[in-house]
């Protein structure tokens, strides 16, 4: 998650918490969620484990890489 306006970073950091993300992506993310804060980039990086329905090479999912999941997170209301 990268803030479009750097001024919004604090709000994002306050609302887009590990718990909120884990709740929003329940059913997709089946493992732990870790958040890394990168204020110098106005960005938050989330590492979501067990989200690819078996992993890139063996997943039956259409989007085996989970490349579209960023937009699932963008749908989160804060």
């Amino acid at each position: 998650v990268i803030a479009y306006r750097p001024d919004d970073y604090d709000l994002l950091a306050q609302r887009v918490t590990v718990d909120a993300v884990a709740h929003h992506l329940r059913g997709i993310v089946h493992g732990g969620v870790k958040r890394y804060e990168l204020p110098q980039l106005s960005a938050l990086q989330f590492v979501c484990e067990h989200s690819l329905a078996g992993g890139v090479t063996t997943s039956l999912a259409l989007d085996a890489h989970g490349k579209s999941l960023s937009f699932a997170l963008l749908e989160m209301e804060i």
Binding site: A61, D63, A64, H65, K67, S68, F71, L74, E75
Partner: protein
């Protein structure tokens, strides 16, 4: 008599990529525009559809409808397998060099046999019947799959005119 004549119709190259969430249709349309610029003029036939929006009717009659996700599908006819493969390669390039959040690409190359309908004089057609017997390949003793490269069919033609 009516006759269906098969002919080699070239190779169809296909590529697909999906977009979901905010502006999914607009992102897919942008991807379509990029592909059109890169592929147009290269093939005798090219079509780009948005599955979930325009793939069956060529347009969406209900313009209010906004799908949560949409899948871009591009197909083109080429004269060689290599040329057809470029279609899927261009779609795959959109993963990292295209609208945000594209996922789940697929690419296919299919040899196509076209069929045209015509008429043929009944007197010029001779008929015969061929019966073939087929038995399944026995499994490999080591791995229990039927990978042994042996003739898969045992043909016993009995022709009669």
């Amino acid at each position: 008599l009516k006759a269906s004549v098969g002919y080699h119709a070239g190779y169809v190259g296909e590529g697909e990529i999906g977009y979901a969430g905010a502006n999914a249709v607009a992102r897919a349309q942008l991807a379509a525009q990029i592909l059109r610029e890169r592929l147009d003029g290269r093939y005798s036939e090219l079509r780009i559809d948005l599955v979930g929006s325009t793939s069956l009717h060529g347009r969406a009659f209900d313009t209010e409808e906004r799908p949560y996700e949409v899948r871009l599908r591009v197909a083109a006819r080429a004269s060689s397998r290599e040329e057809a493969a470029i279609v899927g390669d261009e779609v795959e390039a959109l993963y990292t060099n295209g609208p945000a959040g594209g996922g789940g690409t697929r690419k296919y190359v299919t040899e196509q046999i076209g069929i045209v309908s015509t008429l043929i004089d009944r007197a010029r057609v001779s008929t015969h019947v061929t019966l073939r017997e087929w038995s399944p390949q026995p499994a490999c003793r080591n791995c229990m799959t039927s990978h042994i490269a042996a003739p898969a069919t045992r043909a016993t033609p009995r022709s009669s005119r």
